[in-house]
């Protein structure tokens, strides 16, 4: 009798644990239940994601998480941040430790297909460049034969670097350090001749971390395409839709000229059917996504449109112009899928 009871209890435990396997909709339900979005960000890349003097996270990558929280939970501050190195980021997402990875991550075939990830949009079009002390007198990347190069491991940057030098028949010595702060410290101490990462990252390192930014120069060559964007794990399509359209709403709002300041006025007075649909005056979009009809209104009101986010974070902090990240109507690549 006793043994039978124990066996039965054991069988039930196994069955109960087995039922906890991944299920569609699990991420979205989990976020609603806990009341916040767990967002994986960079350990410190000013302009993209970095904690400010008060310990508040800010940056263009952080704003994607805030927009998602505003759309789903109605509160842009319902976000908790997990700072991750390049090498940690995908495991954190695959294991469900974070709900969304918004950490200047390049979209590639391998990552999309083999790692079980979904890239939901591109919030920054970038390319890889080289940062070098002016004193070395180098004016082009083609003069870098034999240089020592600091690079973060587990990045596309690391692979492009090897590709570039191989293609040019040049040699280099990599110094591979995982933590971005340790890596930049090694560069500034003279351990490496060159630091390589995305051009925006170089601008961030040069303007925010160098003692005297004028001593360093970014070489003109851009050696790769780096479409950076937020990523979610595969398996919860509803959740990836929410992130995709929350980000799209930021661009669409800029296209319509809806800003943090005029969003209330637009909601009350605009007669443009597109704006009415976006802000939920004409209902339907929220329902389609399983969100409140005020989802996009909340985003613009609390986070701002894409242009505002870019201006506040990238232009103000790093001095980078819109370039490829201008709206398509201004000659850039940012182009929102229509919200209708």
């Amino acid at each position: 009798m006793k043994i039978q009871t124990i066996l039965a209890a054991g069988a039930m435990t196994v069955a109960a644990v087995a039922a906890q396997n991944a299920q569609a909709g699990a991420v979205l339900d989990g976020i609603k239940a806990k009341g916040f979005v767990q967002c994986g960000v960079n350990t410190g890349l000013p302009g993209f994601s970095a904690a400010n003097a008060e310990g508040k996270w800010e940056g263009i990558d952080v704003d994607v998480c805030r927009a998602t929280a505003a759309a789903l939970l109605g509160d842009a501050n319902a976000v908790q941040y997990t700072p991750l190195t390049a090498a940690q980021r995908f495991t954190a997402l695959q294991s469900g430790e974070i709900d969304i990875l918004s950490r200047n991550t390049t979209a590639t075939t391998t990552r999309d297909a083999k790692l079980g990830l979904t890239f939901v949009g591109i919030n920054y079009y970038d390319g890889q460049g080289f940062l070098i002390p002016k004193a070395l007198g180098v004016s082009s990347a083609t003069e870098l034969d034999g240089a020592t190069v600091c690079v973060e491991p587990g990045t596309t940057t690391e692979l492009n670097l090897a590709d570039y030098f191989r293609a040019k028949g040049m040699s280099f010595e990599p110094v591979v350090i995982e933590n971005i702060n340790e890596a930049t410290a090694a560069f500034f101490s003279g351990r490496c001749d060159v630091y390589t990462t995305d051009a925006s990252g170089l601008a961030s390192i040069r303007t925010q971390m160098a003692e005297n930014p004028a001593d360093y120069v970014i070489l003109p060559e851009i050696i790769s395409k780096e479409p950076l964007g937020p990523v979610v794990a595969q398996g919860d399509e509803q959740w990836s839709d929410v992130v995709r359209w929350a980000f799209t709403a930021m661009i669409e709002a800029e296209e319509y000229g809806v800003t943090m300041e005029n969003v209330d006025d637009m909601k009350a007075n605009s007669t443009n059917p597109g704006i009415q649909r976006l802000l939920g005056v004409t209902p339907g979009m929220g329902e389609a996504l399983g969100l409140d009809e005020a989802w996009a209104y909340n985003i613009v009101k609390q986070v701002g449109n894409y242009g505002e986010s870019y201006e506040k974070n990238v232009t103000a902090k790093l001095g980078l112009e819109r370039g490829l990240n201008a709206l398509w109507t201004d000659g850039g690549l940012q182009y929102a899928w229509p919200i209708r």
Partner: protein, 398 residues
């Protein structure tokens, strides 16, 4: 099997309950259940993991090892380029781990022994200095020590363009230390073969010397003879190979110093950090080992008229070794395992390369399983060797 528990004359046939009450049956049953539960738990974990990975569309398997790695590694002991496979990248990492661990074990033993003996010195200053050394470095986390050395080395030395040259051909820079090495030549292969032959000869001479001493009591100057055989043979091979003198000298060329042999700051930081940290523990092991041998052993050796140096070698050390070897094994294992912290300062060890591999391929479970089994293997090998050594050193009871 035990006898039936039933009283004699009991005609009842043996039922299930009687079986379950039998101690021997129970003992077997419990073991079967325990093993069954472990297998069930293991099966559940594996199948659940595979199921979840499949659900998330994450690819599995070790097929990625043959793919092109496409990333460069700074320090390689074997031929490696971005064109090589992930498997050879991991091999490079493994060799780097073994290199830093082996050197660390040798150095920490030497330094630790010196400080361990110094802690027992009759000289007050020497004793106190050794105590300060041991207590300081033993009580700072080893990761912080690695960061300290890595922050110190590149900033303490100048850029390669104004390298320090303390000895001709030896350059100290923020990119590490460079020294001249001989250009590759056939003579060096001959010398390696000669060294191996010398070792075999020394082994047999030693056997003969011991036999003679056992028979006649005449000691043989083994150390001198051995050294003579070794140096003589190797030198002969060098001459036979044409006595090459060409050296690869390090010199500034372009951005960096080319030629010679480079010891990188990453390697130095890891080696110094691990050696210093572990040597404090070795010092304590050595001190306790010596103190564990009772003073009466010295006195007994004295009264037999044995020279003090011989008494140390033949009486005291064998006994203190017996105390010291097992804890020493632990320290060697710790050093090997701590070498995985090298990833923090950018030394391309096994963990560093595995991390990169994991990230570029997304095969986290596979990569981790590979480096975990390699560390397990390294540790077991070290243990096996030290156990063998311990047995050899143990006093043989007659």
């Amino acid at each position: 099997m035990s006898k039936p528990q039933n009283a004699p004359g009991d005609v009842r046939s043996k039922g299930l309950v009687d079986y379950l009450n039998d101690e021997n049956v129970r003992a077997v049953l419990y073991q079967i259940i325990a093993i069954g539960l472990i297998v069930l738990a293991g099966w559940y974990l594996v199948s659940n993991t595979l199921y979840n990975l499949e659900q998330q569309n994450i690819s599995t398997g070790y097929g990625f090892l043959d793919l092109e790695a496409s990333f460069e590694i700074s320090e390689t002991m074997i031929d490696y380029s971005a064109k090589s496979s992930y498997a050879s990248a991991l091999m490079v990492g493994l060799l780097n781990t073994v290199k830093v661990s082996l050197l660390g074990i040798i150095l920490c033993t030497i330094i630790g022994t010196i400080f361990g003996v110094a802690r027992l010195s009759s000289n007050w200053i020497v004793r106190k200095l050794a105590t300060v050394y041991v207590e300081t470095f033993r009580n700072i986390p080893v990761l912080l020590q690695l960061f300290f050395w890595y922050a110190l080395i590149p900033s303490a030395f100048p850029h390669p363009r104004d390298a320090l040259e303390p000895l001709p051909g030896v350059l100290l820079t923020s990119r590490g230390m460079y020294m001249p090495v001989p250009e590759p030549d056939n003579a060096y292969t001959f010398m390696a073969i000669a060294a191996a032959i010398a070792c075999v000869i020394i082994y047999f001479v030693k056997k003969w010397a011991k036999k003679r001493q056992d028979a006649t009591g005449k000691p043989f100057p083994m150390l001198l003879a051995g050294l003579g055989i070794f140096v003589g043979l190797v030198f002969l091979a060098y001459l036979a190979g044409g006595a090459p003198t060409e050296m690869s000298m390090p010199a500034l060329k372009g951005f960096n110093i080319r030629g010679g042999y480079n010891i990188s700051p990453e390697f130095m930081a890891v080696l110094i950090g691990l050696t210093v940290y572990t040597s404090t523990y070795v010092a304590e092991v050595v001190r306790s080992g010596i103190q564990a041998v009772p003073n009466g052993q010295w006195e007994a050796a004295d009264s037999l008229g044995i020279k003090r140096s011989v008494a140390l070698r033949k009486v005291i050390l064998p006994q203190s070794m017996r105390v010291a070897i097992p804890p020493l094994t632990n320290q060697y294992l710790n050093l090997t395992k701590n070498s995985s912290l090298a990833v923090a300062v950018g030394y391309p060890d096994l963990v560093s390369v595995s991390n990169t591999t994991m990230n570029q391929t997304g095969q986290a479970i596979e990569a981790i399983s590979i480096f975990m089994s390699i560390y397990l293997g390294l540790s077991l090998l070290t243990s096996l060797f030290m156990n063998w050594f311990n047995k050899k050193m143990a006093l043989v009871e007659r």
